[in-house]
């Protein structure tokens, strides 16, 4: 009876320790594999009971399959928890690009009206100078079709 219990305990201890060792083996293999790929080298790997958890920042959504495949390819990995994050997108300089298109459009519209000056600031068109009343509606139509935020008409009407 005692022998049996001893054997059982021994197996249990061996089993537990081998299991732990296994995790650390997987861990080092996993870490090595990730370190060898420049795209994945900055990621953190963790293994528990054969489950690999990957965390850290990846370049973009397209890198996700690579993370999972790479981790799955390591011997002993039963499943993969993907905790990687994607950096927040860098906000595009919307106002500036918009202003550029708007600037060009305003320049085109006032080109043949030398006494009219058109400025663009924060998507708002500011008109100064002089214009004939008959020319005003056409100019306004063109400017409105550029979809500015607002048009400030400070023109003197002749």
């Amino acid at each position: 009876m005692k022998t049996k219990l001893f054997l059982f305990l021994s197996f249990l201890i061996i089993g537990l320790s081998s299991c732990k060792e296994k995790d650390s083996d997987i861990q080092s293999a996993l870490s090595e594999k990730f370190k060898s790929n420049p795209e994945l080298s900055n990621l953190n790997t963790e293994v528990k009971d054969g489950v690999a958890t990957i965390s850290g920042e990846i370049k973009d959504q397209n890198s996700k399959p690579l993370v999972i495949e790479t981790a799955n390819g390591v011997k002993g990995v039963k499943s993969v928890i993907d905790n990687t994050t994607i950096p927040a997108p860098i906000p595009l300089p919307v106002v500036e690009t918009k202003n550029e298109g708007l600037n060009q459009g305003v320049n085109d519209a006032v080109k043949d009206l030398p006494s009219v000056h058109g400025d663009v600031k924060d998507s708002i068109i500011i008109l100064t100078g002089e214009i004939k009343r008959s020319e005003l509606p056409k100019l306004m139509e063109m400017l409105h079709s550029l979809k500015p935020k607002k048009i400030e008409n400070k023109l003197t009407i002749k």
């Binding site: 080109k111 509606p137 063109m142 409105h144 607002k150 400030e152």
Partner: protein, 139 residues
Amino acid sequence: MALKEKYKQLIDAAKINNVADLQIEEKDGVLNITGVAHTGKVKDDLWVIYDKIDPDFRAGDLILDINVTPAVPGSKIKVSTENTDLNIRKGPGTDQPVVGRAVRNDIISLISQSNEQWWLVRTDKGDEGYAYAKYLTII
């Protein structure tokens, strides 16, 4: 709400004339009205009403962006410049080289209106390029 009241006559006219995709939205103290009119006349009428409500467009509280249903390619258009001929350019923009000239009051052909401000046109002489839409009238 107040702006919708102010421009009610304009909005009603747009609805009566079946302006398509009509959108009316107030944002930061500016009323935005967009839509597509079936004819150039409907658009012109809306602009006349706008000018009546807000003489000389001084208030700056409305953006009226009404397009006209694109004309069929090949439609005849008139060069409606004030007193000069109209430049025809290689691309859409005054920074583009001039490739031809359309004589004032001449009738030319429309090829494409894919750019709102610059229409692709062809003269009877065969000059083809972009001309500024402000000086072109569909007939």
